[in-house]
């Protein structure tokens, strides 16, 4: 049943948000700290566990996969409801930060790639 997958997703989502809220409160902030990240890690671990015990069917998985596939449309809706007119004044920030931030990450690829060759040779 697809709803089982959606229910598993809902459990992870809520548990992650509760954890994030508790963490936020611990640091005296009103916001939610890393709730989405916790929820993702929880889903990965739960799915892994269920998969090993063969407790999850393809039908259940499809309930989760549907919501995963809807994330680009949701992000499109989100970007269509932002205060873009106010952001345009900072247009150059977006372009510079986007391109230079990406370049910095690209530059690190060969540095870390070297370590993977080392670990592979060692093992």
């Amino acid at each position: 049943m697809k709803i089982y997958g959606v229910a598993i997703l809902a459990v992870c989502f809520l548990a992650g948000h509760i954890l994030g809220d508790l963490l936020g409160r611990a640091f005296h902030l009103t916001g939610n700290l890393g709730g989405v990240g916790f929820a993702m890690l929880l889903l990965i671990l739960l799915h892994d566990r269920f998969n090993k015990k063969k407790m999850i069917t393809a039908e259940t998985e499809s309930g989760i996969l549907f919501w995963g596939s809807i994330y680009i449309p949701v992000v499109v809706a989100m970007s269509a409801t932002q205060n873009v007119r106010a952001a345009v004044s900072g247009g150059w920030v977006a372009i510079l930060a986007g391109i230079l931030g990406t370049a910095a990450c690209f530059a690190l690829v060969p540095v870390f790639a070297r370590f993977t060759h080392k670990t592979r040779n060692a093992s």
Partner: protein
């Protein structure tokens, strides 16, 4: 006409499905026909969303009568719910196999993008800790930006900038990857995982690797998925506190 607007407002979420469906269909058409698939349809659709929002009001398109449902579809509840769902594509065993390098690149990629993006924002006038963190988080991915921004209570225009940064990153990664792959040594699963973990941007990484070597796509996408989780975890917490201690 008035009756129709009332009907669409009452069934806002359903109408939003239709609106977004049409935006995405047109964007993928543009991606295929005009750019030969070089710029991913998703990146065009998100950019189109930002352009459309420009012609709306404070809440973008949702400020226009009949389109109020867009705010629900693009709101934080459904956004976070669908992001969490994408994590199912990743396996904990695979990430363990890459060992400490796999973890190191996830943290390094997030930290480097965060401070590179945030510093540029700072240099251009966004000097408060919340804006620094939101803009820096946007340089991770267009998901981490708004998640961090709403957690820290950033203003909508800063959140919009963080989305724009993430979109530009996605486009840059998609276009640059096939050209730079050889020079960066991205020709095996291990390096592809390092690449995905450092760069993040799942849509950019998977589209860029697809143009490089289709066999590398799942490896890059795997670590890129984790990159978003690590970003959502670190940016509004530890990294924000570091920034706060410097800017106060």
């Amino acid at each position: 006409m008035n009756e129709l607007v009332k009907l669409l407002d009452k069934n806002g979420l359903v109408f939003a499905f239709l609106v977004v469906g049409v935006i995405i269909w047109l964007s993928y058409l543009v991606s295929k026909k005009l750019t030969n698939g070089r710029i991913p349809g998703a990146a065009i659709a998100i950019s189109a969303g930002l352009v459309i929002a420009y012609f709306g009001g404070e809440k973008g398109l949702a400020s226009v009568p009949a389109f109020s449902g867009m705010a629900l579809l693009g709101g934080s509840m459904l956004r976070d719910f669908s992001i969490v769902a994408t994590a199912m594509g990743a396996s904990f065993e695979e990430i363990k196999k890459t060992g400490w390098v796999g973890l190191a690149v996830l943290v390094m990629g997030t930290v480097v993008a965060f401070f590179a993006g945030g510093s540029i924002g700072y240099a251009m006038g966004y000097t408060d800790a919340t804006s620094f963190a939101t803009i820096g988080a946007g340089a991770c991915t267009f998901i981490v930006g708004p998640v961090t921004g709403s957690a820290l209570g950033a203003s909508s225009d800063v959140i919009a900038i963080s989305i724009a940064i993430g979109v530009i990153k996605s486009v840059t990664v998609t276009i640059a990857t096939p050209f730079l792959a050889k020079r960066l040594g991205i020709d095996n699963p291990q390096t592809a995982m390092v690449f995905g973990g450092l760069v993040g941007s799942t849509s950019g990484v998977s589209a860029g690797l697809a143009a490089t070597d289709v066999k590398l796509v799942p490896y890059g996408a795997l670590t890129a998925t984790f990159h978003t989780a690590v970003g959502c975890l670190l940016c509004p917490s530890i990294l924000y506190f570091i920034v706060q201690s410097f800017l106060h």
